[in-house]
């Protein structure tokens, strides 16, 4: 669909094994400019492992390229500095810092000399980039609040904002919607869409099929560490392999005729989106 645009993330044959267990097998996945790509799959399919692998938190085989840079042998913080930002399933904010400070940690570029000079530097001045990020996610009123005092939904948003604050080339979100109610999810989906539209391609991992299928441009489905399907949401929704993976084989047999109509509806709904 958007294959002609610039390729931001490119992975080639990414594989991860834990002991004898193969958690990921030859995963090829591309994310293009201004794309929101969803990565879904049943429990234990390897979604989080994939994010861990590309961000450098687990050792993997295969080739990982971000905007032309080969990341394969870099440590996590170096990948982060090249523009790969991520959030975590359990939101790992820095609880004792304010929202603005949380963002500032991420937006900082460092050298040894800068670090030494830092020790006597002036207190944090807010930068326009940071303000823009806060505005994009609607967090301005909370800028000076300590992370620990935030509601769950806002913690999720701050997690996304912190990842965004570094001005990343690619944003990886691990289950940003977990623990949110449906209203908050809808709100999150809308915010994510605006993040991508504002120019940050995003890889979204979430359990909530409803969310992923409604906001993503492209969806990749993992099962037992392998890509079993990929394509636009409408196609993935109909894919019998996907339904089998989620519901067991017998379910798939029943689906095709009955779901066809449902799918038409949802595609109609999706096309209304700008």
């Amino acid at each position: 669909m958007t294959g002609g645009e610039r390729r931001i993330l490119h992975t080639d044959g990414v594989s991860v094994s834990f002991g004898g267990v193969r958690a990921l097998v030859d995963v090829d996945l591309d994310v293009h400019e201004s794309q929101l790509v969803g990565l879904i799959g049943p429990n234990g399919a390897g979604k989080t492992t994939f994010i861990d692998a590309i961000t450098g938190f687990v050792r993997c085989r295969g080739h990982i390229e971000l905007d032309g840079h080969d990341l394969s042998s870099l440590p996590p913080h170096a990948r982060a500095q090249l523009g790969l930002a991520r959030t975590w399933q359990s939101i790992e904010l820095f609880d004792d810092l304010t929202v603005r400070e949380n963002l500032a940690v991420a937006s900082h570029r460092q050298s040894v000399w800068a670090a030494v000079r830092e020790t006597v530097s002036r207190p944090l001045a807010s930068t326009t980039a940071m303000d823009e990020t806060l505005a994009l996610l609607g967090l301005e009123p909370l800028a000076e609040v300590l992370a620990i005092e935030l509601s769950q939904a806002n913690r999720k948003l701050v997690g996304v904002a912190r990842a965004l604050a570094a001005g990343p080339r690619l944003l990886c979100l691990d289950e940003p919607a977990a623990g949110l109610d449906s209203r908050e999810r809808a709100e999150l989906g809308r915010r994510l869409r605006s993040v991508v539209d504002a120019g940050t391609p995003t890889l979204l991992v979430d359990h909530d099929m409803g969310l992923v299928l409604s906001v993503c441009d492209h969806v990749v489905v993992l099962d037992f560490g392998k890509v079993i399907a990929h394509g636009p949401p409408s196609a993935v929704r109909r894919d019998s392999k996907v339904i089998t993976a989620y519901l067991g084989s017998a379910a798939a047999e029943l689906t095709d005729p009955s779901l066809e109509s449902a799918d038409e509806e949802s595609r109609a709904g999706a096309s209304e989106e700008p």
């Binding site: 904010l93 620990i148 209203r183």
Partner: protein
Amino acid sequence: MKLVLLFALLGLGTGALIAGIALGVVLTYRGSGIINLATGAVAMVAGYAFWSLKTGFFGFQLGTLPALAITLVVATGVGALMEVGAFRPLRTASPLAKLAASLGILLTAQAAMLLGFGTTVKAAPPILPSSAVAVVGLTVPVDRFILAGAVIVIAVGLAALYRWSRFGLATRAASENEVAAMLVGLSPNQLSMVNTLLASLVAGLMGVLAASLVQLNSTTLPLQIVPALAAALFARFTSFGIACAAGLLIGIAQSLMYYASTQSWFPTDQGNPLPGIQQLLVFLIIIIAMFWRGASLPGRGELVERRLPSVPLPERLLRSAVIAGVVCVVALIVFPYDFRQALITSLIGAIIVMSFVVITGYVGQISVVQLALSGVAGFTLSHLVTDAGIGFPLGPIIAVAVTTLLGVLVAVSALRVRGVSLAVVTLAAALAMEQFIFVNSTWGGGSGGSPAPSPHLFGVNLGPTASFRGLDGDQPSAVFGFLVLAVTLALGVYVANLRRTSLGRRMIAVRANERAAAAAGVHVRNVKLIAFGLSSFVAGVAGTLYAYNFGSISATRFSALTALGLIAFAYIGGITMVSGAVLAGLISTEALFPHAFDKWFGISGNWALLVGGLALIITLRVHPEGIAGANYQRKQRRRAAGRGSRLKAWSSRWRAEEPTATSEVKP
């Protein structure tokens, strides 16, 4: 060769004590996941209890058996108190908080013994037969074999208990997975209690039995926890057999070291054998144990809920600094000499606690070695003056630089060690540095201390002997006070301001979550190294001031026990804030508060330690942020009203947006 064997066998005595304490440490860890630094203190309390019952200290004398029976009841009682007063309320706290609580118990117990029995070493009444047996032509006191036999029997008994009894089974299960144990109806609280009681019983019994060999000493006995921790590390805090064997072997190794030190080839220090070899040995053993058995402790799938104390942003920093400066200047002039001295000591104490604020408060690493680093700075300063003639200001600058470098070196070697393990290894390092370097009369100060003449700048005396001496005209000089004050204020403002800088934020990010910090682009290793360097720099400055403060410098000021006490005071004051460090300085040993209490009410400094230990436990339970943090939060709450209304307005805006949001996403 025969003598080697003899000394090896003699070492079984200390070895049995170490093994007994190690068994206690393993028991407590398996029962509750706490590394109980106070296990050696329990052995000490039992030793003193038995001594006083046998010698009629309380006005009545008992026979050996009744005295032993009562002593064991006392030891168990101490265990129950620890469990109910400290461990149970902190069940869901972080492992570091639990460790700090056990530190509080250690300090309390030690201060209590000092208050009750004084500092003189007591020869414990013999409880074991004093006869000797012949072993391959050597005459060895039989008590060594009895002691070793006893601890081996206990270890075997405990192993059997854990292997076959319902209770042992339950503890093994709970220590593997606490949540699953609750699901099958086991009560972690009960298991923890029984294990702590057993641990106290074992440590207490070995304390009584071994006390006659090692003498009753309230300074050395609680610190037997350090070799015991080495043994427990070898056992991965799990195996009784390994803990017992490693404990006995460490005792034997120490005894052989002692034998070696009597030989002509052994390196000497001004005619005496090199001191501190045994402590150095234990430190090396701990390093080996960590490399060999891994630096991280076995997890237990427990529920950790409570977070670390918060690190608030400093407010009106310069105003507070100016006010504090003016108050102190006036006080330094007006105060009588003894209070002036106490104030100066308080300020230096505040500086050393600031080094804990950086490393423990901001970065979340408990490093016991900071005070020893101060000592390095102090002794370097002293030796630069006396041996090389390098005085003020070059001397202290070199001393502080050396200390900072050493701190970074320590950090490089300890980078992979974190949390509780770091506390253990730095405690051993502190003890080794105290005994091996500071006590050494060539490198350190020996028994008499090493001189540190007053600093002079352009011929002006800035030291305690300077001519301007405040209103009463006595030493120490107020000029030295001003110098210390200036340094304290500068470092205080610096450390507090650090919290606002990007570096400070990255430190707190590392403390909160190393993984997430790395994902946010923070170079975790560099941040830790810089933090260790800064903390060591601050500690080094404090060390040089200590040296000038008393005109000479000695090992006791930088002892491992003093370091543990300072950490306790730091927690009570508030380990995450500079204002907390100032408070900690004021209540630390020989500082203003204890001095005032001593002077006005005749309450000795040991009471301050006793209260300090208790206050530490209470602080951890009630207010982990310490006094300064509690104060800050009270202010925040008062201010919250205004912000609350603003938040409410904002959330209603969100709600107003809701319908559009829903319609957009839902198909």
